[in-house]
């Protein structure tokens, strides 16, 4: 059963140096507050899995938490590059970063295979694509019935999955609405799951029976962090801070500016600051 804890406890009890971690949320519901707690607790040598590393992994990489990333699109959406990711990969700052690169279809399939308890994902992919030549984790298998040559990659089964969701009920069940991405798959594929939520409500009696609900017993720790997805968004609560994504580029372009920003906005503050960050982005529910 899910345990209600503080974000600090959730990270301290579940995330350890050297872990393989997936923090998911496809543009929507990205668990930024949880990542900041990982940075504050100075976790090291992490293998970070995420389809779109986004600002959340740019920050973890720049602060030296990552040994390796597994990803499928490493840009700042609509803006350009992830400067810290590139600096780490191209110039080994703050240290060397390994990468394992896939396509979105491959990673989505690998999460699903992980949730299904399979060792690998099989799909029609990478046809004529050169990633297959440079990534040894992309192989071919032959369909035993038709002979079609299909792509196979290892399933994703992380030590820890971390997501942000709209709400939990008092029983610890978790509701995700809107763009649901690969979060359900990531949670079910992982050994331990941490969820941050906007709020805790009494029950889900008013929730549609087919809604995306993760039962309490699939989650280890739940922490309430209002605004915890910022600068990503939580549908029904606050909008995406597109201006922040644009403004991140000059900050991340300069090592000193980045370190100063992280000190002032991550290291010296706590998760309660996120509520202020979304105060002017709230939408009527």
């Amino acid at each position: 059963m899910a345990k209600f804890v503080s974000l600090k406890e959730a990270i301290a009890e579940n995330v350890f140096d050297g872990n393989v971690i997936a923090m998911e949320g496809f543009t929507h519901l990205i668990p930024h507050a949880a990542a900041h707690e990982v940075i504050r607790q100075n976790k090291k040598d992490l293998t970070l899995i995420r389809m779109t590393p986004d600002l959340i992994y740019d920050q973890l990489i720049g602060m030296g938490c990552a040994k390796k990333i597994i990803f499928s699109w490493g840009g700042n959406p609509g803006v350009g590059s992830l400067r810290r990711l590139r600096d780490a990969y191209e110039k080994s700052w703050p240290h060397k970063l390994e990468i394992e690169e896939h396509s979105h279809a491959a990673m989505a399939n690998a999460y699903e295979a992980g949730a299904a308890g399979l060792p690998c994902a099989i799909f029609r992919g990478y046809l004529g694509a050169q990633l297959e030549e440079v990534n040894p984790n992309i192989k071919r298998v032959e369909c035993p019935f038709t002979g079609e040559k299909l792509a196979a990659i290892p399933s994703i089964q992380p030590d820890v999955a971390i997501i942000h969701a709209q709400k939990a009920n008092k029983n610890g069940d978790v509701l995700i609405e809107g763009i649901v991405g690969v979060q359900k798959e990531a949670i079910l594929a992982a050994k331990r799951a941490i969820v941050t939520v906007e709020e805790i409500v009494d029950d889900f009696d008013d929730v549609h029976i087919n809604a995306c609900v993760l039962p309490s017993w699939t989650v280890k720790s739940i922490a309430v962090v209002q605004g915890g997805a910022h600068p990503s968004y939580a549908m029904g609560y606050y909008e995406r801070d597109n201006a922040f994504y644009k403004n991140w580029d000059p900050i991340a372009s300069d090592r000193d500016a980045f370190l100063t920003w992280m000190k002032e906005n991550v290291l010296e503050v706590g998760p309660e600051i996120f509520a202020q960050r979304v105060a002017d982005k709230k939408k009527e529910k």
């Binding site: 496809f26 543009t27 929507h28 389809m51 779109t52 990803f71 499928s72 699109w73 490493g74 840009g75 959406p77 609509g78 803006v79 590059s81 992830l82 590139r86 990969y89 191209e90 690169e101 396509s103 979105h104 279809a105 989505a108 399939n109 999460y111 699903e112 799909f123 029609r124 992919g125 990478y126 046809l127 004529g128 694509a129 050169q130 990633l131 440079v134 079609e148 040559k149 809107g178 763009i179 649901v180 991405g181 690969v182 359900k184 798959e185 995306c212 968004y233 549908m235 909008e239 995406r240 597109n242 201006a243 994504y245 644009k246 403004n247 002017d280 982005k281």
Partner: protein
């Protein structure tokens, strides 16, 4: 009415979208063209973004592939594994609309690395995202991209997403059943794919643009079709719709 080359490119790209298309939309220029088509001649087009939003009708262009606007205005929103498995791989998309950093005359796309090799690149780009499978699973591929000889090259540094391969025969050899790149719209002209060689050939030149200008901005020797037409100028309806869309978008994404 005067207009910019970028406006001509977006409008020319939008015109290729048909009312009954189911379109997998990339962010940036493809998204502008697809939504312009929906707001003008193709109100029935189904726009799909890889974040899982199906049949979306955004009022402003999204900055990211998963802006809330896309979900709020969709017919339904599915998970990302479902999107790639049932909808894309399942063969339910008629057109994939892509951009590129580097492109060759066979429509092969590079969005991974420029210069050096994969492991030691001069410039590391964001990567493929959904494009490698979009390129082979959609019925056909439309590409929209500003024409420069840095982007339009004889040999791309890395094939992120398959066009017609290095010789024009690779799709068939790999058993790919979809058509691949069939149309490339730039700020200077429209290329279509030669059915025999699978190379891009210029079939329509935008008003005021010369053949020399097209060649100067292309890294391969450009072939022109026997019958090259002049692209019709943007109409007032097209320009008004595009400018209103851009204005709403700029306002929505400005710092609040």
């Amino acid at each position: 009415m005067s207009y910019t080359p970028t406006e001509m490119m977006t409008i020319a790209a939008a015109r290729a979208i048909r009312n009954d298309d189911v379109c997998f939309v990339g962010i940036g220029m493809p998204s502008a063209a697809c939504n312009l088509a929906r707001l003008t001649h193709a109100p029935g087009v189904t726009l799909i973004y890889e974040s899982g939003t199906i049949g979306t009708k955004p009022d402003v262009l999204p900055l990211s592939i998963g802006d809330g606007e896309l979900c709020d205005t969709s017919v339904t929103t599915v998970s990302v594994p479902e999107m790639f498995r049932y909808w894309l791989q399942g063969g339910r998309i008629s057109v994939g609309f892509l951009g590129a950093a580097q492109l060759d005359k066979f429509g092969n796309i590079n969005t991974t690395v420029v210069g050096g090799d994969y492991h030691n690149p001069k410039v590391r780009l964001p990567g493929g995202g959904g494009a490698p499978e979009i390129a082979t699973s959609c019925g056909e591929i439309f590409i929209v991209m500003k024409q420069t000889n840095r982007g339009f090259v004889e040999n791309i540094d890395f094939i992120t997403s398959l066009g017609h391969g290095k010789t024009g025969k690779e799709r068939e050899e790999l058993g790919v059943k979809t058509k691949g790149p069939s149309r490339l719209t730039t700020d200077l002209c429209i290329f279509e794919t030669d059915p025999a060689t699978k190379e891009f050939i210029v079939t329509s030149i935008h008003p005021g643009v010369t053949r020399e200008q097209i060649q100067e901005n292309t890294g391969w020797t450009v072939r022109f079709a026997d019958q090259v037409i002049e692209t019709p100028e943007p109409t007032a309806i097209e320009l008004d719709a595009l400018r209103a869309l851009n204005e709403r978008t700029a306002k929505a994404h400005a710092g609040k």
